[in-house]
């Protein structure tokens, strides 16, 4: 059997639900949909005066990969600005084989997704929403 996609680390990230929910008074709230699969992510951010993330929350109506990615993102996003988030995205892209090099924590958890092209967007969707929220 080849179900190496749902490895413990990915399942654990999704179940941790880090940052799941809403912010009471977000600076910005952005929703992104994947029209192909119907996954839906809403990201709330509270920014400080320098454009850095002070608080982040997400609501995911999507698959386990999308949930795990949003969870990993929320765990690592606080204190970062748009450039810092772009670096993290680069890590996620490395993990799924879209960029050269080794992915750092926590996104190395997504290496098993590399072989499943149809699921790459599931991992990237929370980043798309956050990018909009920071622009």
């Amino acid at each position: 059997m080849s179900d190496q996609l749902y490895q413990d680390r990915i399942v654990a990230l999704a179940k941790a639900r880090t940052g799941a929910g809403k912010l009471a008074a977000p600076t910005k709230s952005v929703r992104r949909d994947n029209p192909l699969c119907g996954d839906r992510v809403t990201i709330d951010v509270l920014l400080d005066g320098q454009g850095r993330i002070a608080e982040i929350a997400h609501q995911v109506r999507g698959c386990l990969l999308c949930q795990a990615s949003a969870s990993a993102l929320a765990a690592a996003a606080v204190g970062r600005d748009a450039a810092g988030i772009a670096e993290m995205r680069h890590d996620a892209e490395r993990a799924i084989g879209r960029a050269e090099g080794n992915a750092a924590e926590p996104f190395s958890a997504f290496i098993p997704v590399k072989a499943h092209k149809a699921r790459h967007e599931c991992v990237l969707l929370p980043f798309e929403a956050l990018k909009d929220a920071l622009s």
């Binding site: 996609l5 699969c37 109506r61 949930q67």
Partner: protein, 406 residues
């Protein structure tokens, strides 16, 4: 004629294909069915012994091609129980619906109404929305019951003298429910509306007697009915086709072209502009013939036994819910379910690792998903070549997903 599942299965070469050393349990027939030798052979015969363009040549190969193409029309017509000249070959089911929306739609006036349902495939919604923007017609929607059927109790209240067309899925691609065509046709007659059925999910389950159904338009897709890709069918009553202007202009659909003016060829050629998908049409003719040779009483019973086995098995797994009719009456072997706490895509991906192919997501029926606030469903769609080992493998995979992903 009696139904022999193993013999049917043996006619589909792809079902012997191994992935990761295991046979594929193909339960995604609602998206695309597989193709039997009879169809592959017919296409190959055309490509190797009769390939040429149709209608335009006097040479022998062109005659063979034209004969094979027109014979395919005869076979499709026999499958639907209609005259061959009422059968129009299109590029697919979606193309056929768009043809009607454009061409029949051009005969409608602003304020005329078209009635659809909330469970339609996007291809039976979007072309009508486009017509609405173009021509100012209005759309009404029949609601869906909790068990995934078009709620015909609501139909009379939605009809008006301006209702010109009711266009519904014959069988839902999400819930497998078959609509009560007799009730729809009777209601339509009270206001003089036409009825169109989207037969994409009904045609793969045996011949249809359109004359007895009393509808005005019928469409289906070749690739879901054991035929090739790139071919679909529109059937409409001769008087309707006669009244409809062409959809696309080009070669083969004309009477006489001068630079000032063009007259139209009679149907069906009026609607088959340009070189048609000849090989795929011939393949679809062979698929219809193949279906007509099958014992559908036996095949349908076999399909419904699998549906029951599937529903019984799912009910034993904690947190599964079936979205669709609970019984076997007036339904076809398309079954949608949800596994609480696990997204349908994750169910389908897990099933793939067990060698089971299913579809997950919104099934191009987003309004239906919105109506029931679903993230999507996992859909199991069966064909006569499936058997209980396919359902067993699926249930094993669902149990695994339930154990590991929540």
């Amino acid at each position: 004629m009696s139904f022999d599942g193993a013999a049917v299965r043996g006619q589909f070469p792809i079902l012997a294909e191994m992935i990761d050393g295991k046979p594929v349990h193909y339960l995604d027939n609602g998206a695309s069915a597989q193709t039997p030798d009879a169809v592959l052979d017919a296409v190959r015969t055309y490509e190797t012994t009769g390939r040429a363009n149709v209608l335009r040549g006097v040479h022998r190969l062109a005659e063979r091609a034209t004969d094979a193409y027109e014979n395919a029309r005869v076979d499709v017509a026999a499958f639907l129980g209609v005259p061959p000249l009422e059968v129009v070959f299109t590029g697919g089911c979606t193309a056929a619906i768009n043809l009607v929306a454009y061409s029949y739609g051009s005969l409608l006036k602003p304020g005329d109404r078209i009635l659809l349902s909330e469970l339609e495939h996007h291809s039976n919604i979007v072309p009508w929305q486009m017509l609405r923007s173009r021509a100012g017609i209005e759309l009404d929607m029949i609601p869906v019951t909790l068990d995934g059927r078009i709620d015909l109790d609501k139909l009379p209240g939605l009809l008006s003298p301006r209702t010109k067309l009711i266009s519904l899925a014959h069988v839902s691609n999400v819930t497998g429910a078959m609509v009560d065509v007799g009730a729809v046709v009777a209601a339509a007659r009270t206001v003089g509306a036409r009825v169109m059925l989207d037969g994409a999910q009904r045609a793969p389950h045996g011949p249809i007697d359109l004359a007895a159904l009393g509808v005005d338009f019928y469409v289906f897709a070749g690739h879901k009915s054991y035929g090739p890709n790139g071919i679909g069918v529109l059937w409409a009553k001769a008087e309707l086709l006669e009244a409809m202007p062409p959809f696309m202009g080009g070669g083969s659909m004309i009477g006489r072209v001068t630079l000032a003016e063009t007259t139209w060829a009679p149907p069906p050629r009026r609607f088959e502009a340009g070189t048609p998908p000849i090989g795929p049409a011939i393949g679809l003719g062979a698929a219809c013939k193949w279906m007509m040779a099958l014992d559908w009483t036996g095949a349908h019973a076999h399909e419904m036994t699998m549906v029951q086995q599937l529903m019984d098995g799912l009910q034993k797994i904690d947190g599964t819910r079936i979205f669709g009719p609970a019984g076997l009456q007036n339904r076809y072997p398309v079954v949608s379910f949800m596994l609480d706490g696990v997204h349908p895509h994750d169910v389908a991906q897990t099933l793939d690792s067990f060698g089971v192919a299913v579809r997950a997501g919104h099934h191009c029926a987003q309004p239906l998903m919105d109506r029931f606030d679903l993230d999507g469903t996992t859909r199991v769609s069966m064909a006569p070549y499936n058997d209980r080992t396919d359902i067993d493998a699926l249930l094993t995979g669902v149990r695994h997903a339930a154990r590991t992903l929540r």
